[in-house]
């Protein structure tokens, strides 16, 4: 009876359209608003203002000091922030997961809330804390009577680094806490009853378990740091230029679209390549 119904159902209701047709509308929309614009950026990057098609914009941009400086700054800021986030995130996650304290759950909640705020708020806050007239310098000048405080790093790359580590550490913390919650604490008890010191337990038991989550979180943070714009813009440092701010500067401030498109293509290549790596790593890690 049941099989008769099953067999009859498709006959009575023939599939009007094959299922690939349903995939066409979203692809068409995405193509129009995202893929076609990206293709235009690549096309414009080989069209210098002088007309014709050539690689001259690439040669010009690669030869410019500003671009090379921005590339180096972007890469070292991203690598530095990623390392900082990994170390800090690992340390904080260890305490939250394995040395629990009252309020640890509130901390995890707070981290979720933190993640839903935009990044530039951190730089805005740092202006009040470490800015020229901020809290830290205020305490210093009140205490010593000096005219200027010692904290003048905010408009240098170090200010960007501090803001990026602050903002992106939760992105490492979350996968780590998820991984730690699945770790069998009996392993830790056994290791410790056999006489292993906490440092050894962390190195030999916890760290191997955390590696996939660290890899996945770290590569995500690396991509996001490479593409960070708000933090660098809010820092307001003329000396700190990264690839995204260079794209903005060339396009909006200088109206030099071919050069902006060249920088954009370089930025896409680095970022998409790394994101592909992240997908591979996180799929392996099962995250």
């Amino acid at each position: 009876m049941a099989s008769a119904t099953l067999a009859a159902a498709p006959a009575r209701l023939p599939r009007a359209v094959p299922r690939w047709v349903w995939a066409l509308p979203p692809v068409a929309v995405l193509g129009l608003v995202f893929l076609y614009p990206l293709a235009l950026v690549v096309q414009q990057s080989v069209r210098p203002d002088t007309g014709g098609t050539s690689l001259k914009p690439y040669a010009d941009v690669f030869a410019s000091e500003a671009f090379r400086e921005a590339l180096v700054t972007t890469v070292w800021l991203a690598l530095g922030s990623t390392v900082g986030c990994l170390v800090l995130g690992f340390a904080l996650a260890l305490v939250i997961a394995f040395v629990p304290f009252p309020g640890a759950r509130a901390v995890s909640r707070f981290i979720d809330v933190f993640l839903s705020f935009p990044s530039f708020l951190i730089t805005l806050a740092l202006l009040f804390v470490y800015g020229a007239k901020g809290m830290a310098n205020g305490i210093w000048t009140d205490a010593t009577g000096a005219a200027e405080g010692p904290f003048q790093f905010l408009t240098t790359p170090w200010g960007v680094l501090l803001a990026e580590i602050t903002y992106f550490t939760p992105f490492v913390l979350r996968p780590l806490l998820a991984a730690f919650s699945q770790l069998d604490t009996a392993q830790l008890e056994v290791a410790s009853s056999l006489g292993a010191k906490p440092a050894r337990i962390v190195r030999r038991v916890i760290l191997p378990e955390a590696l996939p989550a660290l890899a996945a979180g770290g590569s995500l943070v690396l991509v996001m740091c490479l593409n960070e714009f708000g933090i660098v813009l809010f820092t307001g440092a003329k000396g700190v230029t990264t690839l995204p701010t260079l794209v903005y500067g060339k396009a909006i401030l200088e109206s030099d679209y071919p050069a902006a498109c060249v920088v954009a293509v370089v930025n896409i290549a680095i970022s998409v390549g790394l994101y592909g790596l992240y997908r591979v790593v996180s799929r392996r890690a099962g995250a």
Partner: protein
């Protein structure tokens, strides 16, 4: 328990407090404090005032708030529609023969691509593509909404397709075996089951769009200034206290909407 001695535990907690409080709690507290204070030229802010909020909730700032809300809601709805449709189409393709499974994976990859492309570049691309006829959107509010929708679609798609992968196929098979049409199965079985993750995706998209600055800076027309641009403009010309008040308004609006969305989600998952 990793550390057994009482002293060691206190040491770990002290280290945690020393790292966590100044780095994560202090920034938000500082913004809140600054938004209520008239001066800040010493260790602590002075002169309690609500004047910045008066400035932050009228005129251009109020307009920026409605701009941000309208943009975020519209972009989230567009992104949810496109992302859900794509996730459903990809999931259905993955049940077919080999070429069709491959096509499903390609569709998934295409829809996560916007996450990997820097948002400044998405802004530039949209600017380049929609600045000339026949698709002249530059200078209108639609270009901002469109860019936001593109940027958040990937997140909507990711969370819906993750939920689809966890969905028990028994429900739709049972419905189909009872003779329900595919459209009926979609409306009455699949989408209700997906409602919790759809609302979670909506919250995520909304929060991301509310805080979007990079693509917006490339695109916004003078009469459509969202809150983040407004905060930047205030900070850039030196009125950081007004910037802080507008930032608190932004955070409060985001949190309120997220709270409402999570209540919808709880109700949906208990149904």
């Amino acid at each position: 328990m990793l550390v057994h001695s009482r002293g060691g535990r206190w040491a770990a907690w002290a280290l945690f407090a020393v790292l966590f409080l100044p780095l994560f709690a202090l920034p938000l507290l500082v913004i809140l404090a600054a938004s209520f204070s008239a001066h800040w030229s010493g260790a602590f802010p002075s002169g309690l005032t609500t004047g910045h909020y008066a400035a932050a909730t009228r005129g251009e700032s109020l307009q920026a708030l409605t701009t941000s809300l309208v943009t975020a809601v519209t972009a989230s709805l567009l992104a949810l529609a496109a992302g859900t449709w794509a996730a459903l189409a990809a999931a259905s393709l993955k049940q077919g023969p080999r070429w069709s499974r491959f096509a499903g994976r390609v569709l998934d990859t295409l829809f996560v691509l916007p996450v990997a492309v820097p948002s400044v570049v998405v802004g530039l691309a949209v600017l380049v593509a929609f600045s000339e006829p026949p698709m002249l959107l530059n200078g209108t509010r639609w270009i901002v909404v469109l860019a936001h929708a593109v940027l958040v679609t990937a997140f909507a798609h990711q969370s819906v397709s993750a939920a689809l992968a966890r969905l028990d196929p028994a429900y739709e098979q049972a419905a189909a075996s009872l003779g329900a049409r595919p459209s009926y199965v979609l409306w009455k079985v699949k989408l209700p089951l997906l409602l919790p993750s759809l609302s979670a995706a909506a919250g995520l998209c909304f929060a991301l769009s509310m805080g979007e600055l990079s693509a917006t800076m490339m695109l916004y027309p003078p009469d459509w200034t969202p809150l983040p641009v407004r905060i930047y403009a205030a900070t850039d010309r030196g009125s950081t206290f007004t910037g802080a008040a507008v930032a608190v308004v932004l955070m409060a609006a985001t949190l309120l909407v997220l709270l409402a969305v999570s209540r919808v989600r709880t109700r949906a998952s208990y149904r």
